[in-house]
């Protein structure tokens, strides 16, 4: 027994030595940054697994499962993904600590899809001064993608809030050019971001078309008076830029006072379970919004042949997860984009090349994107998703309609 063990260890050591020799020989042609070997790419991630935003933790779980699937298939260009994900509890100082741990202690190649506007605001300066990619951040704040010159190491993924506002403007100009718009928005960077996109999209007509605007603070208990003010202004199109709790209040109040505007609700509040049901599904009928990913929670998509791989992935790698969670498909889509970037990098796995390839996505499509939605980036265009499609709530689920609308490219 003993001799067997020793000999096996000897063989293993021999293989290791051989591998090391091979690696040192091959390294001449290959270009590796920190965290990369011939057999592994180390990627960092920061998620709120605990704390007030822990509902988003499912994104981290999906990504971990996705990379496990890739590893089971033999990795990317023969390298398995070592996905190191830490909890920041949605606390900015903790996010800084975890980012530093990933970069300085774990020595990851880059940090992928860290979640939350406050956490990413806290780490952006550090990541850019260290020249470590902060790639595909999970927030819609425009500031993470709008300035590749100042922050060349930070890039978003989902449509920015401004892109979304922009798409609503284009839809309104084409289909309701004479609308009188009443805008309600949350008085913070998110609300102002969406509103700016809308105003920029309306251009010269913004002044004449927007007849009223009202704001609220997240601390306010109700927004009834704002809704009454908008109705009194004579607006016939209600641009509703609110977060879930206020969106539910707004939908309810609009129905209560018998105001019948065309109601456009922004994407952050489209959840059937947490917004539309509490507001009353009847009241929510005919509301418009926009999206860019398929709605896999809709039972009708179950037989969609393009989503076969997605459902097979869930069956095998996340069998116990609640399928009604809309974040699953997000995690899948963003991981697939990451896989594409790593494939494009080939054997040149430096931090510089990661950013270069992330800024070199050409008409990338994933089966979980809406048909026609393509991801495109360039050295001066860090907005991955800029295309959305309008959708309407039919009382049960969201139905996509009309063409794919592209937000104006900003660079």
């Amino acid at each position: 027994m003993l001799s067997y063990k020793v000999s096996r260890r000897g063989i293993a050591a021999g293989i290791l030595v051989a591998a090391a020799l091979a690696a040192s020989g091959a390294a001449a042609q290959k270009n590796y940054g920190p965290g990369v070997t011939d057999t592994e790419i180390k990627i960092g991630n920061i998620m709120p697994y605990s704390g007030p935003a822990s509902a988003y933790a499912v994104i981290g779980q999906t990504e971990e499962a996705y990379f496990k699937m890739i590893n089971d298939r033999g990795g990317i260009n023969g390298r398995r993904i070592n996905f190191v994900s830490y909890d920041d509890g949605y606390s900015p100082p903790k996010a800084v600590e975890q980012a530093r741990k990933l970069v300085e202690s774990d020595e990851v190649l880059f940090i992928f899809n860290p979640l939350g506007t406050p956490s990413n605001s806290a780490t952006m300066k550090y990541m850019n001064s260290k020249k470590v990619p902060q790639l595909f951040v999970a927030t819609g704040a425009t500031k993470f993608s709008e300035d590749p010159k100042t922050n060349p190491w930070t890039m978003g993924w989902q449509p920015s809030y401004q892109s979304e506002g922009n798409v609503y403007a284009k839809y309104i100009l084409t289909n309701h050019p004479n609308a009188k718009i009443g805008v309600l928005y949350q008085n913070d960077d998110y609300g102002k971001d969406v509103y700016k996109g809308l105003k920029d999209g309306l251009g010269d007509k913004a002044k004449s078309m927007i007849v009223a605007e009202a704001t609220y603070e997240v601390t306010e208990p109700t927004i009834d008076s704002q809704i009454l003010k908008l109705k009194a202004s004579g607006a016939d199109l209600f641009m509703d830029i609110t977060t879930p709790k206020f969106a539910a209040q707004a939908i309810k109040k609009v129905a209560e006072i018998g105001w019948k505007p065309l109601h456009i609700l922004n994407n952050v509040s489209i959840s059937t379970g947490s917004v539309l049901k509490p507001a009353g599904l009847e009241n929510a009928k005919e509301i418009l919004s926009a999206g860019y990913l398929k709605d896999a929670t809709d039972p009708k998509t179950k037989d969609d042949p393009t989503l076969k791989d997605y459902f097979a992935f869930l069956d095998k790698y996340l069998p116990d997860i609640d399928r009604a969670n809309g974040n699953l498909i997000y995690g899948y889509g963003v991981s697939q984009t990451m896989e594409q970037v790593l494939k494009q990098c080939g054997d040149n796995l430096t931090r510089e090349n990661i950013m270069k390839q992330a800024a070199n996505l050409k008409n990338f499509v994933s089966p979980v994107f809406l048909p026609g939605v393509k991801a495109n980036t360039g050295p001066n265009d860090y907005f991955v998703h800029e295309q959305l499609q309008m959708m309407k709530f039919d009382g049960q689920s969201w139905q996509f309609f009309g063409p794919i609308i592209s937000a104006e490219a900003k660079s």
Binding site: D87, P93, V96, E104, S105, A122
Partner: protein, 345 residues
Amino acid sequence: MAVPVESTLSSTASDAVAAAEMPRSVRRGGSIAMVSGILFVAIAIAIPLLFKNFVVFQFTQMLVYAIAILGLNLLTGFNGQFSLGHSAFYALGAYTAAILMDQYSVSYIWTLPAAGIVCFVAGFLFGLPALRLEGIYLALATFALAIATPQILKLSPLEHWTGGVQGIVIIKPDPPPGVPLNQDQWLYYFTLAVALLLYILARNLVKSRSGRALMAIRDNPIAARSMGVNLALYKSLAFGTSALYTGIAGALGAIIVQFVAPDSFTIVLSIAFLVGLVVGGVGWLPGAIFGGAFVLFVPNIAEGVSKGLSGAVYGIILILLIYLMPTGAAGFVRAVLSRVSRVRS
């Protein structure tokens, strides 16, 4: 919550009796404290030379938490007043520093006294109405303060200064020219110096007339009053001083993290201070460093054990620790010392 305080009280009381009876052991206890203090400073000075920058940064954060816990200890451990609102003072200090650096280009060194003064005034004023509240009722009132703070920081009238939900990004200070240290090492030594200074001041305060007055109020307010201690003044001063310490910690925290935002200062932070206080030992000043280490490192250990159950693992560690060291690190150290001296004699 009252249990640890009472048990420490009785043990300090018995220590006092023992000290009065055996002056020699006091001298020996004093020399042990001196030696361990020197040892601590020596280790603390060596840390940046031994570890990577990231670990140095973690130790800096630990010192910052230790200063905040030191402040809470002055209030709870020595004056017997509870506070769940220290995240508010920490936030106030952090924002004072961040706004001064961001908008008025004040040097980071001068933000510390500024944060201390602002927090002292705020703590003193909050202490006045809190005078009418005792024990858990005061805990509830301060709890409200902690809950309200992040929301107040988001208010739009203040956004010009606070940056709203986005917070403020500040520039990391460089070491003074000619000092052969990198930013992290320099900030570590800077924080260490501030921590040592504040520790010595706290120790002197506790040993002074005022310190005895504070403890007298804690142990028996009626007796303290009949001996001529101005209860209202001393309780408010204790609140102010405690807030001053926590505010300076907040300012240091903002400088080393380079960022402040309302979501950094939730009630969770207050609870972390309280946990650190109890773990370190209520009413024992050096306990703050153990408390700071616990606050910073134990959540990381818990996360390393299980990501999904990190909260549960944290809870188990906390329960085990309280079970093994019911009076925190203070009781543990005391038990070890008494055993050592027994063996010697």
